[in-house]
Point group: C2
Chain length 138, copies 2
DNA sequence: ATCTTGACTTGGACAAAGTCCAATGTAAGC
DNA sequence: GCTTACATTGGACTTTGTCCAAGTCAAGAT
């Protein structure tokens, strides 16, 4: 935890109570919260924190590479604190639960040159969908 | 084109002027429009078509499996008329443009059994991101 | 050809998610 | 402990999408 705050301070991040609370809410979670959920959890500790501040802070954490933005469908974006381990996502089509997974190989290499259309490709994400054990039996 | 409309009619779809125009806008495109873009294009031919009708019609086409919904990020969903050929997407991080691409191999097989957490996995989608030739030079 | 009817369309209100901005507050360096 | 540049606030605004009651119309029946 304090690693995160220290890394941020080294990069010139001004450490305010609001930013600390947002970072603490995210840190070490294996669930991926929406911005509104982060706001609600942060407000438990710091009641007057503004929605805009949560959005700002999340965007900064994403820009700094400390947190990943995951947009699963047309709904709210979710924030994934596990930015330092490359991984992909497995999502339950029914309940929306997300698990981090680690497929083998590099999906980037599966795209031949003549399928790149002049793009400068920087990233490939793989999303697996299906039913989680709980939803499959329910 | 008329294939699509015929298929839909066989399934009991009531063919209205509005639905015809929406289907015609989508048909045969290799770009993937947002609902608003579809609305604008449809309105060129049928000026008074309502936004709600476009949304309704797109949802029906998706439910019938004739069109795929692609949600690229937090922005508007895009509609992909190429539902009958399996493919993946390459997205410009700046302007949001989408191209269909065809990577080699099957991403599903890259996920080992012990990384499936009891899920019944039905689908794997791969999304490549980068800058399109136009945005890379601008 | 006209009627009938249930499905379709309309437009406006509403909602969710997110952005923007001017005024105010404050962390950190001096 | 001052100062000031940077952060926060809250409310208005935007975008994307959904909902609904009232009006309209495609298509089968007569």
């Amino acid at each position: 935890m304090s690693d995160l705050l220290e890394r941020l301070r080294e990069r010139g991040w001004r450490l305010t109570a609001q930013r600390r609370v947002v970072a603490e809410v995210l840190n070490g979670q294996h669930v991926h919260y929406t911005a509104d959920e982060v706001h609600a959890l942060a407000a438990e500790r710091l009641p007057e924190i503004a929605r805009a501040t949560v959005y700002n802070t999340l965007s900064e954490l994403v820009a700094l590479g400390e947190v990943l933005e995951v947009s699963t469908d047309g709904r709210a974006k979710r924030y994934d604190p596990n930015a330092h381990h490359s991984h992909q996502h497995l999502i339950c089509s029914r309940c929306g639960m997300i698990r981090d997974v680690h497929p083998e190989g590099d999906p980037l290499s599966a795209l031949p040159e003549n399928e790149r259309f002049g793009f400068t490709i920087s990233e490939a994400t793989v999303t697996y969908r299906g039913l989680c054990p709980h939803c499959a039996t329910a």
